[in-house]
């Protein structure tokens, strides 16, 4: 058979027509490169700046103030003002600040006398990548600040500031401590959303949905009934990942295992509800897969799993805050590495609950209990 250009053209035209009719695929073709470009181009920054920093000022004075000003000018730190030590540490536990910088008593006096004063820097090292750049800058700040801004300093050579760095929660800066708990969330997001998004569309595609709907079942019964088995599957997955984290990667587990499982359960349910909602919107299994992928991509990139959350511009952080994975990462790292209790975690628990409630509402609304 000779290659027929006419036949070939017919096939090309047909493909284009079908592609145009398939809005979702078409949307993905345009959407995915656009999103990837925007995310990789603008949102992702492995050298994050403007990291929120709490200052504990035990010794106010010209030199310590100049030092704080210099930190702010470096662009790496966003100074949240001077706080009590207790409050500052709570914020570090909660993940509200990346650094706590403490100026000890006698900081100014020591400098005037030509002695090296100590400066205590505590960094949230759960994500080692997020702190690296800022810490390097901090070490270089000292001499430059004092000679340029404060000519009244008598001693020469200008004394160095003795930087005491505490990498909190992950003293050795081991990346696996950050990545393994994160993977827990990524794996759950992928599998839970995908499996449930197929569950209902499978019924619809095979025509069995009609049989189901001809029974007295209510939408809530069908949705939650279909979710339940996957909750069990999700919990098995979590247990496997945690066992591997403990015995293969030596990830510390300092927090409450009970609390961890409670948070995991919430996260699983949030993802399953989303999958179910995709499932009731999608017309067929392929569309459901595409929707899952569409959700999975920003979850990976904008949640703080792959790249430091604080390195992203505000709009990207805003999008990230809508994703369950973002909050789950903070929660899991908080429990496993920081031993956070419920009162510290609450700020990331309610967004998950809200997400689930909204998505469930949308799901029930779109779920066609009647076929129209």
């Amino acid at each position: 058979m000779r290659f027929s250009l006419a036949r070939w053209r017919a096939i090309v035209i047909k493909e284009f027509i079908q592609l145009r009719r398939d809005r979702l695929t078409f949307g993905m073709i345009i959407g995915i490169p656009l999103i990837q470009l925007l995310l990789f181009g603008f949102a992702i920054n492995s050298d994050p700046r403007h990291l929120p920093t709490a200052v504990v000022m035990a010794d106010p004075g010209p030199f310590s103030r100049a030092y704080v000003a210099a930190m702010a000018n470096s662009d790496y730190f966003q100074i949240l003002g001077s706080l009590q030590e207790r409050d500052a540490h709570r914020m570090l536990d909660r993940g509200d600040v990346q650094f706590v910088v403490t100026f000890p008593l006698g900081f100014n006096r020591d400098l005037v006398r030509g002695k090296s004063p100590t400066l205590l820097v505590e960094a949230d090292a759960t994500d080692p990548m997020a702190t690296g750049g800022a810490l390097a800058v901090l070490a270089q700040l000292g001499p430059a600040v004092f000679t340029a801004d404060l000519p009244g300093l008598s001693a020469t050579p200008v004394p160095r500031v003795d930087l005491r760095l505490h990498r909190r929660y992950n003293p050795d800066g081991i990346t696996a401590y950050n990545v393994v708990p994160g993977l827990l969330g990524v794996i759950l997001t992928m599998t839970m959303v995908l499996m449930t998004s197929l569950a209902m569309t499978r019924e619809r595609e095979r025509g069995t949905f009609e049989s189901l709907m001809a029974t007295p079942a209510t939408p809530l019964e069908v949705m939650t009934g279909k979710i339940a088995p996957y909750v069990v599957i999700g919990l098995i997955q979590v247990t496997l990942v945690l066992l591997a984290a403990r015995w293969i990667f030596d990830v510390p587990m300092v927090g409450s295992l009970f609390l961890l499982y409670a948070v995991v359960l919430l996260f699983i349910c949030a993802n399953l509800t989303l999958g179910m909602t995709f499932s009731s919107i999608a017309r067929n299994q392929l569309q459901a897969m595409q929707m899952t992928f569409f959700f999975f991509l920003p979850s990976m990139l904008l949640s703080g799993f792959m790249f430091p959350f604080r390195g992203m511009p505000l709009w990207a952080q805003g999008v990230g805050n809508l994703l369950p994975l973002t909050h789950f990462l903070v929660l899991v790292r908080g429990i496993l590495l920081k031993n956070n209790g419920p009162e510290l975690l609450w700020g990331h628990i309610w967004p998950l609950m809200l997400f689930m409630a909204v998505v469930l509402g949308v799901g029930l609304w779109t779920f066609r209990s009647t076929l129209d």
């Binding site: 025509g207 069995t208 049989s211 007295p216």
Partner: protein, 306 residues
């Protein structure tokens, strides 16, 4: 007593109106045939009756319950058999029945399922996957499944499509047995022999109800006269016959041609002249249900094509 009594039902999907001002009355215990061309709104109508679809407007009663407001209650008392086999292929025969029994909250679930399997003659194959059954068996399983919760009304949507003649006949015997037991059956079909086995029937096209009553009433209501023509070189005569005064419909039946029209004497006169000229013979025929239905379609135009 009426099992179904609905008036002025309308249903649109987007801008397409699928059912228009449909009114139906189905008596308790009768077998009611539902006929019409493909895409005429039969399935939509059945889905509205069993509570799967909500009518846009209209009102009515199904089993004494309001079709607009009590669809959940109606679902419990109606057995609906879908056009396409819609039980779960990846469940066994017994698992399918068990699931349905659970969904309807049946008290003696195991007993009900076992009884249904016995009656079906599938007790020995209860662990076979439903997807592996042949077409005829799938259809019987589907009927058993929609009867499981002992509904008083069965809505069967083209239950015998693609089923062999023997299985079809057995299926209809079963439906007549159910009807004798007082169960109302509304069944849609394209087969004329099945239409004739119904107590009463309705013919709908493009959402409109065109005729209803017993088969004899529907035929009589059209006032058709039909003649069967036979003789040499008959097949080439069709175009010419169609232009004869009074001839409204010409259909080939094997070696004969059926010519029908509503103006009986006029048609007879023009046919007689035609046959004399061609050396054909003609004899009167009772118009069939099919003649009647096809003639009914002359007056309605497909709104999608108009």
């Amino acid at each position: 007593m009426l099992s179904i009594d609905v008036h002025g039902l309308n249903k649109s999907f987007g801008s397409r109106q699928v059912v228009r001002h449909l009114s139906l009355e189905v008596r308790q215990g009768e077998i009611f045939g539902f006929l019409g061309p493909n895409g005429s709104g039969k399935t939509t109508c059945i889905r509205m009756l069993c509570g799967l679809l909500t009518p846009d407007s209209g009102n009515g009663i199904c089993l004494g319950l309001d079709v607009l407001r009590q669809s959940a209650e109606i679902k419990r008392q109606v057995g609906y058999m879908t056009q396409k086999f819609s039980l779960w292929d990846d469940l066994t025969i017994a698992e399918n029945l068990d699931f349905v029994a659970r969904m309807f909250g049946m008290a003696d679930r195991r007993g009900v399922v076992d009884a249904a399997l016995q009656e079906l003659g599938l007790a020995g194959r209860r662990h076979q996957l439903a997807g592996t059954l042949s077409g005829g068996w799938k259809q019987r399983l589907a009927l058993a499944s929609c009867r499981l919760h002992q509904p008083r009304l069965l809505l069967l949507d083209e239950p015998t499509a693609g089923v062999d003649p023997k299985a079809r006949r057995e299926f209809w015997e079963e439906i007549h047995r159910l009807s004798t037991a007082g169960i109302t059956v509304l069944v849609s079909t394209h087969y004329m022999d099945e239409a004739e086995r119904c107590h009463r029937l309705a013919y709908i096209a493009y959402g409109h109800l065109l005729a209803s009553g017993t088969a004899a009433e529907v035929i009589a209501g059209r006032h058709l006269s039909t003649w069967a023509l036979s003789g040499p070189d008959l097949m080439g005569a069709t175009p010419e016959l169609q232009t004869l005064p009074g001839a409204e419909q010409v259909t080939s039946f094997g070696t004969t041609l059926h010519v029908s029209g509503t103006d009986g004497p006029g048609l007879q006169a023009s046919l007689a002249a035609f046959c004399r000229a061609r050396g054909l013979s003609m004899e009167p025929r009772e118009p069939s249900l099919e003649d009647t239905f096809i003639h009914l379609m002359r007056d309605v135009t497909d709104p999608l094509q108009a």
